[in-house]
């Protein structure tokens, strides 16, 4: 460990480290809460957990996370390559279609998967005339892995796409000029160059899997997060749930530490592309490529949206009861706009701190943020209930508490998008501003921030859509009577009122997809590279 490297070369201005400190303090609320609750009955719940459920849960959670990550990479890497380097028609449209599934919450994808691919689902109905009596079991590990891949691969796709779009192609050209085929060049040169982006994408997908509740519960596969819910639901055992939550947090910390190590080791000597890319002509492989992209988009986007539309049409025909949409849309959009703005505003100084100054605070802020990110929303929400009702009574059960939860949950999303943008910005522009007599804050306001605009927009879009989808914290922390879109989807679908659930679900997807779709269309999602 090189401790000298940890000491910032320059003292960071208070306007940067104060938000940094605030971010760390906020993200520590759930950590303190878990520490408190998980130890209130001494160590016996811990040893009980370790002797009963933990080893199995650990194995199941990590196995699922690993397989989902693998699937996501298998979908995202070819898709990203095709949409940045190959001469497929309508590349932009494909980019948008491949990105938009980000807007679909995993619980909606899971509902659709069960309805469509279940043993006697819609697909089986279509195949019935062909003599298909039932489809294989969709519940359990493979169903959960499939669903989480559909819902989670866009995270990997965005990161890999951004890396491909900005990577230097000189090495690939060198390889081709030495007589190596495009395919071998891809595996020998392009793919290794993508490893840092892949590492970042895999991390996102692993965290996504570990903290997911919707898909695993609807598809019946127990992970840490699902078991934490079951603890609350079945025995109202806060301590047991907190123990599991704390273990999940520790596991995440371990994954993060090793991932950061791998990433810094891999990040050496990356170059940025100077010249424009010549697209690779696919020839007769083009058909295969389009087939691949069509299948990916069909499963991740058309399947869930199609099922929702089917339910909606059925409901309209049957004169089903539809919830009033307007207040829920208004609340969800307000919360997502305000939450995204606050989150990005807080994450930006932390990202500058981490990209420009380094030091322990910046690292602590980043890591703490990631750990809370992997905690189930329920745990974060209960932590805020605990602190809110004791120390912030005025804010408790107001939308501010909800916004606070969103900030804690989603600062890492904003951080990763912003940090990537800042790292790729030439740092000497800020030095130039300083040599012209501008203080650090002035330099940030006049140089760094304007240049980071694509990154800021991307972070905003990402947090916006994530808030739109968030369910557990939204349910627990929104003030009484405060309808939201995910709340409506949840309440209608638990009552099996699928037509009533489909309407808010479609509204949710439509609203959440707007900013990210725009970004994908403009190609600015490049800023999401972490």
């Amino acid at each position: 460990m090189n401790w000298a490297a940890l000491r910032p070369a320059r003292k960071a201005p208070a306007a940067l480290w104060l938000p940094g400190l605030l971010a760390v303090a906020l993200t520590f609320i759930p950590v303190f809460y878990l520490a408190l609750r998980s130890t209130e009955d001494g160590w016996s719940p811990w040893s009980r957990a370790f002797h009963t459920s933990v080893p199995q849960l650990l194995q199941r959670s990590l196995w699922l996370a690993a397989v989902v990550a693998l699937f996501c990479v298998a979908v995202a890497v070819p898709a990203a390559w095709l949409t940045t380097r190959a001469d497929i028609p309508a590349r932009r449209v494909w980019s948008v279609l491949l990105t938009v599934p980000l807007a679909i919450p995993s619980y909606i994808t899971a509902l659709a998967v069960v309805a469509f691919l279940g043993p006697k689902g819609m697909l089986q109905g279509w195949l019935e005339p062909l003599g298909v009596d039932r489809l294989p079991e969709v519940y359990g590990f493979w169903g959960a892995a499939f669903t989480l891949t559909c819902a989670g691969y866009p995270y990997v796709y965005l990161v890999v796409r951004a890396a491909l779009a900005s990577a230097d192609t000189a090495e690939e050209e060198a390889s081709r000029s030495l007589g190596v085929s495009p395919l071998r060049t891809f595996f020998a040169i392009t793919l290794p160059g993508l490893v840092p982006a892949l590492a970042a994408g895999i991390l996102l997908s692993v965290l996504y899997t570990l903290s997911d509740f919707g898909a695993v519960s609807l598809l019946n596969y127990s992970t840490f997060t699902r078991d934490i819910f079951i603890e609350y639901q079945s025995s109202f055992d806060r301590t047991g749930a907190a123990v599991l939550g704390a273990i999940l947090g520790l596991v995440t910390l371990l994954i993060l530490t090793s991932e950061l190590g791998v990433r810094s080791w891999l990040a050496r000597g990356r170059k940025r592309r100077q010249a424009a890319v010549r697209l690779v002509p696919l020839g007769r492989w083009g058909v295969l490529a389009l087939a691949f992209l069509s299948i990916a988009v069909s499963l991740a986007l058309v399947l869930p949206v199609g099922v929702l539309i089917y339910w909606l049409i059925n409901g309209l025909r049957a004169n089903a009861d539809f919830p009033a949409l307007a207040p829920a849309v208004r609340h969800s959009v307000e919360m997502a706009l305000a939450g995204a703005a606050i989150t990005v505003a807080l994450a930006f100084p932390v990202a500058i701190l981490s990209a420009r100054y380094g030091g322990l605070l910046a690292r602590a802020a980043e890591q703490a943020a990631y750990v809370t990110h992997a905690l189930p929303g329920l745990v974060v929400a209960l932590a805020l209930v605990f602190f809110g009702i004791r120390y912030a009574t005025g804010l408790y059960q107001t939308v501010w508490m909800l916004l606070l939860a969103y900030v804690i949950l989603f600062v890492p999303n904003a951080l990763s998008a912003l940090r990537g943008t800042l790292v790729r910005q030439p740092a000497n522009l800020e030095d130039a501003a300083a040599s012209l007599g501008k203080g650090p804050l002035m330099a940030i306001a006049t140089v760094t921030a304007p240049l980071a605009r694509p990154g800021l927009a991307a972070a905003f879009a990402l947090v916006f859509l994530t808030i739109m989808k968030e369910l557990p914290a939204t349910l627990i922390l929104s003030p009484p009577g405060y309808q939201t879109l995910p709340g409506l989807v949840w309440s209608r679908s638990t009552d099996a009122l699928y037509a009533g659930a489909a309407l808010p679900a479609l509204a949710l997807i439509a609203v959440a997809a707007i900013p990210v779709g725009l970004l994908a269309w403009k190609g600015d999602i490049g800023a999401l590279e972490s």
Partner: protein, 344 residues
């Protein structure tokens, strides 16, 4: 005077040390620059010259020593005036122009509001009239460099630092820009420090040259002295191509394989004599030599010569001179040359 006079101040670096972890990038460097003087720091890559420049500008902390501007300490182990309060201009190697600002806005960046007149004046001075509304990426390399210099000069810095100012320019442009830069600096009466690895740039632009090697300034001299009378064998190699011949000095002259040569500084005993390739005269000077190879270089030709008893060496002659491999000449040295006593 076209531009308002700035307020040049002297610079004094004493025993400056900058560390990156365990590496001492600058290791006890000393450098004095008088007010209004232009000094070039000449060194190979990795010699610590850019790091010293960044320490002067306020972007690196020193681990030892101090830096004074106008007699006031701006950097030491206990004091560190922030970069933006030093009034030290820095021209970056890649210019670091703000890509999101126009040329005029780049130049106006360090100026108070309402300085449009000064911006116009600077644009005119840099022959950039009409380009004020363009963005940096729409300019040629030479224009970008001028914008970078004008931007740094705009707020009347006490000292101007230039990091490899010509390295991104092609040969023809380089010469013109060098002239232009010196003219501007002289006109402003700036104290300036420019860092370069190019001996010609350093010689042509600077009043004095500080040679930097392994984090130290090993010699500071005028360009002519560094060329004609370097104080050591090391610094001799920085000013121009250097080759050394064994000799025996007898006060004002020395006996060498190239005959008796006059010494620029008296010396006695065994020595090594610096004879640069362009100091060797050919034809009718008494020492027989054979041409091994001839390399045509446009204005000059480079002859690889052999004299019995010593390794082959090089002479630079006008390219019109007829000389082929295996031709023989009588050569000699017409210039007073420096000699360095052989150690031991």
């Amino acid at each position: 005077m076209i531009l308002e006079l700035s307020n040049p101040e002297p610079l004094d670096c004493a025993g400056v040390e900058v560390r990156f972890g365990s590496l001492k990038a600058v290791n006890g460097a000393n450098l004095q620059v008088a007010a209004g003087e232009i000094v070039a720091i000449l060194g190979r890559s990795g010699s610590g010259k850019t790091t010293l420049l960044r320490a002067i500008a306020g972007f690196e902390r020193v681990a030892a020593g101090e830096i004074r501007i106008g007699g006031r300490v701006v950097e030491s182990t206990s004091v560190s005036v922030p970069a933006h309060k030093r009034s030290v201009g820095l021209v970056f190697q890649d210019y670091a122009l703000f890509p999101n600002r126009t040329v005029a806005a780049n130049i106006a960046y360090g100026l108070p509001r309402g300085s449009a007149a000064r911006v116009t004046e600077l644009l005119r001075r840099g022959e950039l009239e009409g380009l004020g509304g363009r963005y940096p990426h729409q300019l040629s390399g030479g224009q970008q460099q001028r914008v970078a210099v004008l931007r740094s000069l705009a707020p009347h810095p006490r000292i101007l630092l230039l990091d490899e100012p010509f390295s991104n320019l092609d040969a023809a442009l380089r010469l013109a820009m060098r002239e232009e830069l010196v003219t501007i600096l002289r006109a402003e009466g700036m104290t300036a420090v420019l860092v370069t690895h190019d001996r010609t740039d350093a010689m042509a632009a600077a009043d004095r040259i500080a040679v930097m090697d392994a984090g130290r300034v090993i010699e500071t001299a005028t360009p002519l002295n560094l060329y004609m009378r370097p104080s050591s064998k090391e610094s001799a190699t920085y000013a121009a191509d250097a080759q050394f011949f064994p000799g025996v000095a007898n006060g004002d002259t020395a006996e060498t394989p190239l005959g008796t040569v006059r010494l620029s500084m008296p010396l006695r005993g065994g020595c090594e004599v610096l004879i640069r390739p362009e100091w060797i005269g050919v034809k009718g000077l008494g020492v027989p030599a054979t041409v091994v190879r001839r390399r045509f270089e446009g204005a000059h030709a480079r002859l690889v010569l052999s004299v019995p008893g010593i390794p082959e060496f090089v002479a630079v002659v006008p390219s019109w001179m007829a000389a082929e491999a295996n031709d023989s000449f009588e050569i000699g040295v017409n210039v007073a040359v420096p000699a360095f006593a052989t150690a031991g």
